[in-house]
Symmetry: C2
Subunit: 319 residues, 2 copies
């Protein structure tokens, strides 16, 4: 299984330039002096998450004839919105297969971006997406296990290196592993000594367990779905993603549910950004895992599509 190369990430950067927000690094005055911290606020992308980068690159990589038939995916979360947005940017049709359990707000968000929505039972999602691909000649763009998606997410890493060449550690949330795979490729190519550290909730710590054992581990969905961090409730990282992670990532740490909530509150109060639980994982690791996070550190704030009631709760609970 070939890993994504740095040239693919550089090509992706050219492809997404001007279409995604070039997010700055935000220095945190509240950080420890000995461990300066910068946030990379990907929650400020138009659809509220880094996912647009991979979606745009994957559509851009299709040959024009295939692309004109459109794209299909079965993610109900941030990837669904990102793909809908990216397809609109390219002016091609897009179908998002959503489970009948998806919240109305998420369905509306995808519909507002012009996507066709097909609602099915959760068990039918994969099959229905594959069917649509065959019937309509559409390309499937999966949320994380695809080289073009990984290359697109890697553009986050290129920007970190460009903005902070003396970075020492980068904290990256892990669900399916697309973001950390891309960032690791991008960063290690020019700065191999930088520590790329994955962060998971304790309640969905499949990669932390697998990384320690050196094997690709899956957890039961009933376990991983316990965490409040809905963006990373997957049973495991993708196989292609695992290959990148075992080769390029330096460490994987876990954080508690309380640490995630506290980090959401801190990000809103002290850094003035709204992070969803998955987006606050890295700040939680910075705060509660100091033994694992040292030196000049960047925390990727991956998304900001938080439930307003939850945001209100973390703002009023003291830390």
């Amino acid at each position: 299984m070939t890993l994504v190369g740095i040239e693919a990430v550089r090509a992706a950067a050219a492809r997404v330039a001007g279409r995604v927000v070039r997010t700055p690094l935000l220095p945190c005055l509240w950080a420890d002096d000995a461990r300066p911290l910068w946030l990379k606020p990907e929650n400020l992308q138009p659809t509220g998450a880094f996912k647009m980068r991979g979606a745009l690159n994957a559509i851009g990589m299709l040959d024009p004839a295939t692309r004109s038939h459109g794209v299909v995916t079965h993610s109900s979360g941030n990837h669904g919105q990102a793909l809908a947005w990216a397809a609109r940017a390219y002016g091609v049709p897009v179908v998002v297969v959503m489970p009948d359990t998806a919240p109305a707000a998420k369905v509306e968000g995808v519909r507002a971006l012009g996507a066709e929505i097909v609602v099915v039972s959760p068990a039918e999602r994969d099959a229905r997406a594959a069917e649509l691909a065959t019937e309509r000649g559409m390309a499937v763009v999966p949320p994380f296990e695809h080289p073009d998606v990984i290359a697109g997410q890697g553009t986050v890493g290129l920007e970190v290196v460009e903005d902070l060449p003396d970075v020492e550690a980068i904290l990256v949330p892990v669900g399916g592993g697309g973001l950390i795979s891309g960032i690791a490729v991008a960063v290690k190519a020019s700065l191999p000594q930088v520590r790329v550290i994955g962060v998971e909730p304790e309640l969905a710590g499949d990669l932390a367990e697998g990384f320690a054992k050196g094997e690709h581990v899956s957890w039961d969905q009933a376990l991983t779905s316990r965490t409040i961090a809905d963006g990373v409730r997957l049973p495991s990282v993708g196989e292609l993603n695992w290959r990148h992670i075992e080769r390029l990532v330096d460490d994987v740490v876990t954080v508690s549910e309380q640490a995630i909530l506290d980090a959401m509150g801190r990000l809103a109060r002290s850094s003035r950004v709204v992070a969803e639980p998955s987006g606050a994982l890295t700040t939680a690791a910075y705060v509660t895992r100091p033994e694992a996070v040292d030196g000049r550190t960047v925390a990727i704030v991956s998304g900001g599509n938080a439930d307003p009631a939850l945001m209100a709760r973390v703002l009023t609970s003291s830390t």
Copy 2:
């Protein structure tokens, strides 16, 4: 009274480069198609407001001998924090004279940045700051009525023009008038057709009234302090600021208190940024004053130091 020139703003840009965050423009998917909207999130600056730009430039403009004696100001709000931060960046002493009515959190914020704090009754603030300046040879850096402060704030305008050369309207919150004066100088120099529009709360509409009359109007502090937008409760813009505004600004509009609260909620929910009430003024104008705001629009989100309890409230009230 000479207006600040574009050369001064360009020189300020060189002076603040690398010290302030180069904030991006954030396209808003929730905006009207006919009136695309971008946010300029200055709430993401390290101290939570654009004020660092003016403070840095003012300190940078001092001759080194004067600068070494340090700086003093009497603002209790975002300017106090910004000056403390900027003085630390230059390694010079700083005194912030604060009223004994200032919230403990704001006093702590300034102290944490290494400033010496002198607490006096509100009536004594100006006199005490002037006294300290004489006693210790410190330079007074006022919050808005100073050409170097105006030039520093103008760097926001240069960045807007650079990132969106076909911008048609820029919405700017108005308190003392430092930000809008600087932005108007910066923008009109290269794009004179762009409409620069000031935004005030109805309850602190001194400039809106004065602008309509063509004279520099003051309101009683008892009136202007009614608004929830604590950053713009000043009785009037500065005299120097008024000269810039009457010459360069195209319109001044006002918004209701409810519109401000709704805009704070919308910014958090749909654009994932925490704005304080003054920082949400421009979004409130975009939403509630469509007759005054047309074309490709940029809204300056000036600051994000919002009370967490208020943020929680706007997140849970429906819009």
